[in-house]
């Protein structure tokens, strides 16, 4: 059984690598400059099953585990990290939240469409005043006789513009702490949902990031996901999985940057020799390779623990923290190895460097990961 699973990870890796090479690589620079969201690519990804990786087959998904999932995200990230970020956010935030905590009816209604990519999913935790402190949510949900009325604003929401549905957190108990926050399923064409300004980002520019303004958004009673007051706890559990996908994102970027640096160092001649023959460059390449390998081990360690049904809060954060910082370091060294050419858009490494930086910020900053890890260690 184990041998068979390994075999399928290799087949999946091969397929995604080929897909990225043929469908993404030729367009990377053009899409980045135009900040273009390639809808056609997402249609293809949906057809191939990559938008419902973790969704069981009974709901129209591929029904795969985290080892396959991180393989997919990392392979996409090595070529076009923005596409990988969108795939990660769609799968592990919105879709997984519904999968983990949705009612049967919510799952039947949304999972097949999300898994096929007919609808892209968004997930709204962050607010202008509630970033790292997600428990500080100011968006409110007021109970009415026939449902809920939501008011507030979310920002930095992946797929706020291109998405069809979102899971959002809102405070249902005024003046409460994080135990007064609940999660809601919100079709984004609901009256009162205003899609705000699209962020003009440093990197990850193909991934759609915008704000959402919620003005008297009326939702039916069954829009509540899980029990009232459990939204924050649900979100933290969703992030336990999501952070593994950001680790995979970092891993892929680091691997892509190392590859680029290796091939450049072999080709570029200075002082009559390839720069790869200089020990100073070799040491950089060696250190980069160690970071990539360590990021890979931690990412797959967390994925395996998740697949074994363990609680992965600490491992997920450790993998996310390490792989993200590794991505930034490796991408920066890749730029350095390219010299002046690395600082231009003619080579892919400057983009990987810009894209990598998101990893240390999204789904909890590196500082927040350290807080999470320390709390787990100290048993708080």
């Amino acid at each position: 059984m184990a041998a068979m699973a390994d075999d399928s990870v290799a087949s999946v890796r091969e397929m995604v690598r080929e897909f990225a090479r043929r469908e993404l690589a030729p367009h990377v620079r053009e899409w980045d400059e135009a900040s273009f969201f390639p809808a056609e690519v997402f249609r293809q990804l949906g057809e191939l099953g990559m938008l419902g990786v973790l969704v069981p087959e009974e709901y129209g998904g591929a029904g795969l585990d985290y080892r396959h999932y991180v393989t997919i995200v990392a392979e996409l990230a090595a070529v076009e990290p923005g596409v990988a970020l969108s795939v990660a956010a769609h799968n592990s935030l919105c879709t997984n939240h519904i999968l983990l905590f949705g009612s049967d009816e919510q799952k039947r209604q949304w999972l097949p469409r999300l898994a096929r990519g007919e609808v892209l999913g968004a997930w709204g935790l962050t607010e202008p005043g509630a970033g790292s402190d997600a428990g500080g949510t100011r968006t409110t949900a007021r109970r009415e006789v026939d449902g809920w009325v939501i008011n507030g604003a979310k920002n930095f929401i992946t797929h706020a513009t291109v998405g069809g549905v979102a899971v959002l957190t809102a405070r249902t108990a005024p003046g409460s702490d994080h135990r007064g926050i609940s999660a809601f399923l919100v079709p984004l064409d609901t009256r009162g949902v205003v899609r705000g300004k699209k962020e003009d980002k440093v990197g990850m520019r193909v991934s759609d990031t915008s704000s959402l303004i919620l003005e008297d958004v009326r939702l039916p009673a069954d829009a509540l996901v899980g029990a009232e007051g459990e939204g924050f706890v649900q979100a933290m559990e969703v992030l336990d999985g999501g952070r593994i996908s950001i680790a995979a994102l970092g891993l892929g970027i680091a691997r892509g940057a190392l590859q680029a640096a290796l091939s450049y160092a072999r080709q570029r001649h200075q002082f009559g020799r390839p720069i790869a023959s200089f020990q100073g460059i070799q040491f950089k390449l060696a250190d980069m390779s160690v970071l990539v390998s360590a990021a890979e081990l931690l990412t797959f360690r967390a994925a395996e623990a998740k697949d074994a049904g363990e609680k992965t809060t600490r491992l997920s954060s450790e993998a996310k923290l390490f792989a993200s910082e590794a991505a930034v370091r490796v991408a920066e060294e890749a730029v350095q190895i390219h010299g002046g050419y690395g600082y231009t858009k003619d080579y892919p490494v400057e983009k990987l460097w810009r894209d990598a930086k998101l990893c240390t910020i999204g789904e909890g900053t590196s500082e927040i990961q350290r807080l999470v890890i320390a709390r787990q260690l100290l048993g708080e």
Partner: protein, 264 residues
């Protein structure tokens, strides 16, 4: 409808080729293996025909162990059944021997209404196997097909020729060799990859087909690879600096073209 696709598992066209062995084979170390690109068109066409009108797609390869990986990929893309004829060492590069093995395998796995192959197998590119298999099976064949319509009992196939197209009709069963342009091959989907794991690959030996592989590659061999040579390493080009003295550079270029390259 029953479709059969002949699939060769060949060195990736992007591989860096080194000569190994006794100088008549490539060094297979570090080579990545792929389904021969023209065979991907053949497979895609068979799967589309099946999806449109029902039926079953069988893929057959003849070659060493690694061929199973290629067959798995065919199953992941939508083939229903896979046959691996193990061997190929003794008959390497001998198109007629390969065709005899494949024809026998097609006969044993069949009957089929339509047999598809690639116009050529990347690596040796002889474009022989398809026509030979058709001849051995005594069925008509159309090669280099870029458009195919299959009706009841017959097919219409189009091939590109210099400055135009040719349209053929042929009765079924028939063998069609696919060319680039026939379709756009799909990627295997995640579901397809997982489903393919559950389909057993049938493995046969030439002996199971009543063939003696040693004889095919020995006394009965029709061709053998004697020697491989890499193209001579290209010398660095000559760059004439025309910025300071364009007229002089043009004169020098004309001289080089006439006396060195003997191009004019």
């Amino acid at each position: 409808m029953k479709y059969c696709v002949l699939v060769a598992y060949v060195p990736d066209t992007a591989s860096i080729i080194k000569i190994g062995g006794a100088g008549n084979r490539i060094d297979e170390g570090g080579i990545k293996w792929i389904i021969s690109p023209y065979d991907e068109f053949a497979l895609e066409e068979a799967i589309r025909l099946k999806e449109a009108r029902g039926g079953e797609v069988t893929v057959i390869t003849y070659g060493p162990d690694r061929g199973s990986t290629g067959l798995r990929e065919c199953l992941a893309r939508g083939a229903d059944r896979a046959v691996h004829v193990m061997g190929g060492e003794a008959t390497f590069g001998d198109a007629f021997a390969i065709a005899r093995v494949l024809a026998a395998a097609v006969q044993k796995a069949g009957p089929f209404d339509l047999i598809l192959c690639g116009i050529k197998g990347v690596g040796s590119d002889q474009s022989l196997v398809g026509a030979m298999v058709a001849e051995l099976l005594d069925v008509p064949h159309v090669s280099g097909v870029v458009k195919l319509e299959v009706g009841e009992g017959s097919l219409t196939a189009q091939r590109d020729v210099e400055g135009g197209t040719e349209v053929f009709t042929a009765p079924l069963p028939c063998l069609v060799a696919a060319h680039k342009g026939l379709n756009e091959p799909r990627y295997p989907s995640l579901k397809g990859i997982m489903a393919a794991k559950k389909i057993p690959i049938e493995t046969w030996k030439p002996a199971d087909l009543g063939l003696d592989e040693a004889a095919l590659g020995g006394a009965e061999a029709t061709s053998r690879w004697l020697k491989l040579e890499l193209p001579a390493a290209k010398a660095g080009g000559t760059i004439l600096n025309g910025e300071e003295d364009p007229a002089g550079a043009a004169r020098e270029l004309a001289r080089l073209l006439r006396h060195e390259a003997k191009a004019i």
